[in-house]
């Protein structure tokens, strides 16, 4: 029996600290975040060229590694959320790759001034009618990807995040939810 379960049962038995209504309301609202017919894109390891630090090492020196990882993702030619994060010393920056249904979605995040910036790239480049939906549980923003498949969104609340790629004639592809901290 796990200690946390025993402690949780004791907390429930004491009637202490009931679940706040806001937490329950948020749980109910998650139902609206389903992507009917969607294909979940799971995480894929990013290639690490010889001589580049591992992701664990990168985590230990997160800000410094941010620029290296941006190069790995092939997005260094644009000023991404991540490189801006590195330049401003943001507390959190990261890049993650997801793949499904022949599509690769790179997602970079940074928290600057208490707001979350998201930049990324879809490859192969989707058609001209594709739409990228960047979602948090509270707000979704839709972007038309650039000619190279890039997209960017700023001003989101930090927390849970998922990206959906909508392509005519294909089921939507959505990334797993990731958590971005302040």
């Amino acid at each position: 029996m796990r200690e946390e379960y025993l402690l949780a049962a004791l907390r429930m038995g004491a009637g202490a600290d009931p679940v706040p209504e806001g937490v329950s309301a948020a749980a109910r609202a998650v139902f609206g975040l389903r992507v009917p017919g969607g294909v979940p894109a799971g995480p894929v390891d990013l290639p690490v060229p010889p001589g580049t630090r591992s992701s664990a090492e990168a985590g230990a020196a997160q800000t410094g590694a941010a620029q290296t990882e941006a190069v790995e993702a092939g997005t260094a030619q644009t000023e991404t959320a991540q490189t801006r994060a590195a330049q401003t010393g943001a507390a959190q920056a990261g890049v993650r790759r997801f793949s499904a249904d022949g599509l690769v979605i790179d997602v970079e995040t940074a928290v600057i001034g208490g707001r979350m910036e998201v930049a990324g790239q879809v490859s192969p480049v989707p058609g001209p009618d594709a739409r990228i939906e960047v979602r948090t549980p509270h707000i979704a923003k839709v972007r038309i990807p650039s000619g190279s498949g890039h997209f960017a969104v700023a001003g989101l609340p930090p927390g849970w995040l998922s990206v959906v790629c909508h392509r005519p004639g294909h089921p939507p592809v959505f990334t797993r939810w990731i958590h971005v901290h302040l």
Binding site: M1, R2, E3, E4, Y5, L6, L7, A8, A9, L10, R11, M12, G13, A14, G15, A16, D17, P18, V19, P20, G22, V23, S24, A26, A27, R28, V30, F31, L33, R34, P40, P43, A56, G59, A60, R96, P137, G159, W160, S162, F174, R176, W177, I178, H179, H181
Partner: protein, 175 residues
């Protein structure tokens, strides 16, 4: 619950029923990690989001409750480690086919039974565990002052007391 052996066709009413049945348990588990209210809310919401993204892989709706509690524990542990400065992955998720069966003990009735067993323990175990349960965010220094114990003894004493309580509970279960 859906009867077609799949969770993908769940409707809103069923979802809200799940929330009503399990969100209190999920909250209790997240808070048992000593998370702040904001982090605990994130852990609980994360478990629901994992359910949404995993719906197509769930084949046994009857085990969803155990899976939700297991996943909340997983998310809470991850947030707790990150709060301590550890580097953690945010993408490893418990297997939907293998929820932790012991999650079923997260229940108010069971909790009341455990309180009765706790009363059988002497001091300082009784006060120490009571403090831990009701104030999971309390630091060792605060507990040491409150119970007039050396700060260095709090961790080992807590482990010993929890082991004794767990033994009492398991003894009761096997009767």
């Amino acid at each position: 619950m859906p009867t077609d052996n799949s969770f993908a066709t769940i409707d809103q009413a069923t979802w809200e029923d799940l929330v009503a049945r399990f969100d209190g348990r999920m909250w209790a588990v997240a808070r048992a990690f000593g998370l702040s209210a904001a982090d605990a809310a994130d852990a609980v919401q994360g478990a629901w989001l994992r359910l949404v993204e995993s719906a197509g892989t769930i084949r046994d709706p009857e085990r969803i409750g155990a899976w939700l509690v297991t996943t909340t524990r997983h998310e809470a542990a991850r947030l707790s480690r990150r709060a301590r400065g550890e580097v953690v992955s945010d993408l490893d998720v418990p297997d939907t086919a293998l929820p932790d069966p012991t999650a079923a003990v997260v229940d108010a009735d069971f909790g009341r039974q455990v309180w009765r067993r706790l009363d059988l323990l002497g001091e300082p175990c009784r006060s120490l565990i009571r403090l831990y349960v009701l104030h999971p965010e309390a630091r060792y220094t605060q507990i040491a002052v409150r119970l007039n114990l050396p700060i260095g003894s709090i961790g080992p004493t807590r482990a010993r007391c929890m082991a004794r309580l767990r033994a009492l509970v398991e003894e009761e279960e096997t009767r």
